[in-house]
């Protein structure tokens, strides 16, 4: 009995010792998913972990079979096609306004394509980078038409539904202060509950990005009962976000966006891309579609990435029309720069 106990104790002791020694050794390992590691981590994992909205019509929403679709989802797909030539190699991680940043900071998602506004503090102290702006937006208000309100300036004394953890709530307080408007906030974390509180009449107005208002309105049974007021009270440049300090990864995200925009600019779409790649003689198009220049390799993918992405996802205009047209969202500031908009792809050279 006695010697046996001693023996077990010894093994135990060895195990304890081993772990004490192992701890500092583990600490020396590079932190996962930092530095330039995301690209390698994603490639070796073989799937892309993409942070998306919990459900915002037109931007990111699962259908009844659980297949995600939407404007932001198409950016996840474009990345997966660029990397793996397969848009099913994606793990979608639904994130709320409140928990999205921790998901990206902690490395749970590789990229977050989720109607997120680029701001200075998010770019710096939250530790992110916003490689591109894929949707120029602004904040607005939605009210029931029965309320008879025609302008946001008439909202003095109103109760306003707003989601916490957004630029929206901060813009709202800034705007109210600047315009001497008093309001009672109702702050609910889950979007579904927030919207149902607004619909039930708990609030007079609901405020968020105008694209979000349009998306929410489009899924209401009585969409015509809600009006979006004309005022735009903020700038909301929305775009995919990545962790700071991971330049190779943010390069790929940025140039995937430019690829979609440039394809539209050059008249390349999902139907004609292969033909254009074979026959077009414009030098920039040839570089972009991988005929020469080796640009894909510079990004860390292969030179056929552009043809693949455009074939599966389409160009920026196709992505926009497929997802957002039905919501009644106009191109507006998201038109090509040559059409008076702000979408402007940097040169493929």
């Amino acid at each position: 009995m006695r010697p046996m106990r001693l023996a077990t104790l010894r093994t135990l002791g060895a195990a304890v010792l081993a772990s004490v020694v192992a701890v500092p050794a583990m600490a020396q390992q590079p932190a996962p998913a930092s530095g330039a590691a995301t690209m390698e981590a994603v490639k070796s994992r073989g799937t892309l972990s993409c942070g998306v909205n919990t459900g915002l019509a037109g931007f990111a929403q699962p259908d009844s079979q659980g297949r995600w679709a939407g404007f932001d989802v198409d950016y996840c797909r474009a990345l997966a096609v660029a990397l793996f030539n397969d848009d099913s190699k994606i793990r979608y991680v639904p994130t709320t306004a409140q928990n999205r940043f921790t998901a990206l900071q902690s490395g749970e998602v590789d990229v977050m394509a989720r109607n997120t506004t680029a701001t200075l503090s998010r770019d710096t102290s939250l530790g992110f980078d916003f490689p591109a702006v894929n949707f120029y937006d602004g904040q607005g208000f939605m009210v029931k038409s029965s309320l008879g309100v025609k302008s946001a300036k008439e909202l003095d004394g109103a109760t306003v539904c707003v989601q916490p953890g957004t630029t929206t709530e901060q813009n709202l307080t800034d705007w109210a202060r600047a315009n001497n408007i008093k309001f009672t906030p109702v702050v609910i974390e889950r979007l579904e509950e927030l919207v149902s509180a607004y619909v039930a009449g708990r609030c007079d107005a609901y405020t968020t990005d105008i694209s979000g208002l349009a998306a929410t309105r489009s899924v209401q049974p009585q969409a015509a009962e809600h009006v979006i007021l004309p005022e735009v009270i903020s700038k909301e440049p929305l775009g995919p976000a990545v962790r700071h300090g991971d330049q190779r990864w943010s390069d790929l995200v940025r140039w995937t966006h430019y690829l979609l925009v440039a394809a539209e600019e050059f008249g390349i779409n999902s139907a004609n891309v292969e033909e254009v790649a074979a026959t077009d003689t414009r030098p920039e198009v040839q570089r972009m579609l991988g005929k020469n220049g080796g640009l894909g390799a510079m990004l860390g993918v292969d030179n056929q990435w552009a043809v693949r992405v455009i074939k599966v996802i389409g160009n920026y205009g196709e992505v926009f029309d497929r997802n957002l047209k039905a919501l009644g969202i106009q191109r507006g500031p998201n038109a090509q720069w040559s059409q008076g908009g702000q979408q402007y792809a940097q040169p493929f050279r």
Binding site: S125, G127, A158, R177, V187
Partner: protein, 399 residues
């Protein structure tokens, strides 16, 4: 003592120094303890340094500097003055007070409701006891989150402000909450409130001395006239001395909403209702068990003395039952407090909700979570300390 001393004394271990050998039990003990402490310390050190390293690599801000920055957060209800230009620390204080507001009121109401239901459960009236039993079963079986959402949806179903229910002048019930007439708060009211507290304390002390005197001379003394004078008279006197300010603050519909008066928001009300009805189900069972733990003989003996049932319950059974009731009751109070964090689901801005938002806006998740944990730890420890003190006070003193 003789040589047939206590055998335990004979078996006292021989005193000897530590030998540097693995067979020495004390040496082994010390080595093991050092190893375990080292292991735990090493894990903590690794966690901390790993976290710090990752935060550094990702350029994520750390430290408490954000507490003094402007919050810019909209907060719907607050016990103290707050506006979005205040700092994050003030916003967090608003959150703590909102948590306390629902926890304190919730604990008091749940205790009252739970005790009533627990007693009803033991009632000789068949219908009453069945009703109480059904209530307990149903309430305890449904998840609290579901109940909160249920109450919140019910409250949202109330009419809009312009069609609000108006049972009494100045009282309005709508989907914006319950509006009650109130006074315009002035210093005199705050002092009167202090007077009320002083009156309660004084009454308590008076009752104690009256009881002590009764022990010596056997004369029963009436406590309530003096108590009434102290509890009601004192604040009234202070209020009158300060000029008896009385300006009604009557809610009135202006524009979109009611302005003025006191508001009970649907968020607070739904949370309170959910927590109270839920916790009362558990408290009722505790009270029932407590009462049943008092032997039937106590009832019979008291009845033989000619005491009435109500009096037996109040003066003989309940004081004994309390000793069984208090410890599990403490857990229920702690549960209620912690469950109040479900507030985020229905938009009541408690400490969790405001910390979460702070954490999101500043990106400082570790600090945000630390604040939430510290607040709950403080509140829970306070409740436990108080309940332990009370438990010790009412414990059976054996003579």
């Amino acid at each position: 003592m003789s040589d047939t001393a206590d055998p335990r004394l004979l078996r006292a271990p021989p005193k000897k120094g530590i030998r540097l050998s693995w067979t020495d039990e004390r040496l082994r003990g010390i080595v093991w303890q050092l190893l375990v402490v080292g292991l735990v310390g090493g894990i903590i050190w690794w966690l901390v340094s790993n976290t710090a390293h990752n935060l550094e690599v990702r350029r994520i801000a750390t430290g408490w500097g954000f507490l003094n920055r402007e919050a810019g957060l909209p907060i719907g209800e607050s016990l103290i003055d707050y506006n979005p230009t205040n700092t994050y620390s003030r916003a967090l204080l608003v959150g703590v007070l909102n948590t306390l507001k629902v926890a304190v009121v919730g604990i008091i109401l749940a205790t009252i409701l739970g005790t009533l239901i627990g007693i009803a459960r033991l009632s000789k009236n068949w219908l009453l006891s069945r009703l109480a039993a059904t209530y307990i079963e149903v309430i305890r079986d449904l998840p609290l989150l579901l109940q909160l959402l249920f109450w919140y949806v019910i409250l949202q179903g109330l009419p809009a402000p312009r069609q609000s229910l108006n049972p009494m002048t100045g009282v309005f019930l709508s989907n914006r909450g319950l509006k009650l007439p109130w006074v315009q708060w002035q210093d005199a009211h705050s002092f009167a409130l202090l007077g009320l507290v002083a009156g309660i304390v004084a009454t308590f002390l008076y009752a104690r001395s009256a009881r002590a005197k009764r022990m010596t001379d056997g004369q029963p003394r009436k406590v309530w006239p003096v108590g009434l004078g102290l509890i009601l008279g004192l604040p009234l006197l202070i209020w009158a001395a300060l000029g008896a300010p009385w300006q009604g603050d009557i809610p009135a519909l202006r524009g979109f909403n009611f302005q003025g008066g006191l508001t009970v928001t649907p968020e607070y009300f739904a949370l309170l209702l959910g927590l109270v009805t839920y916790t009362a189900g558990f408290i009722a069972e505790i009270v029932r068990a407590g009462i049943q733990s008092v032997p039937q003989g106590q009832w019979e003996a008291a009845e033989a003395l000619g005491l009435q049932r109500g009096r037996i319950m109040r003066q003989i059974v309940l004081p004994q039952a309390l000793r069984v009731i208090i410890p599990p009751m403490t857990s229920q109070y702690l549960n209620l407090t912690k469950n109040s964090s479900l507030a985020v689901a229905i938009g009541y801005q408690d400490i969790v909700s405001i910390s979460n938002t702070t954490l999101n806006q500043t990106g400082q998740a570790i600090e945000g979570i630390a604040i939430i944990m510290a607040v709950y730890l403080c509140i829970s420890l306070s409740i436990s300390l108080f309940m332990n003190w009370y438990n010790a006070r009412i414990a059976l003193v054996e003579r």
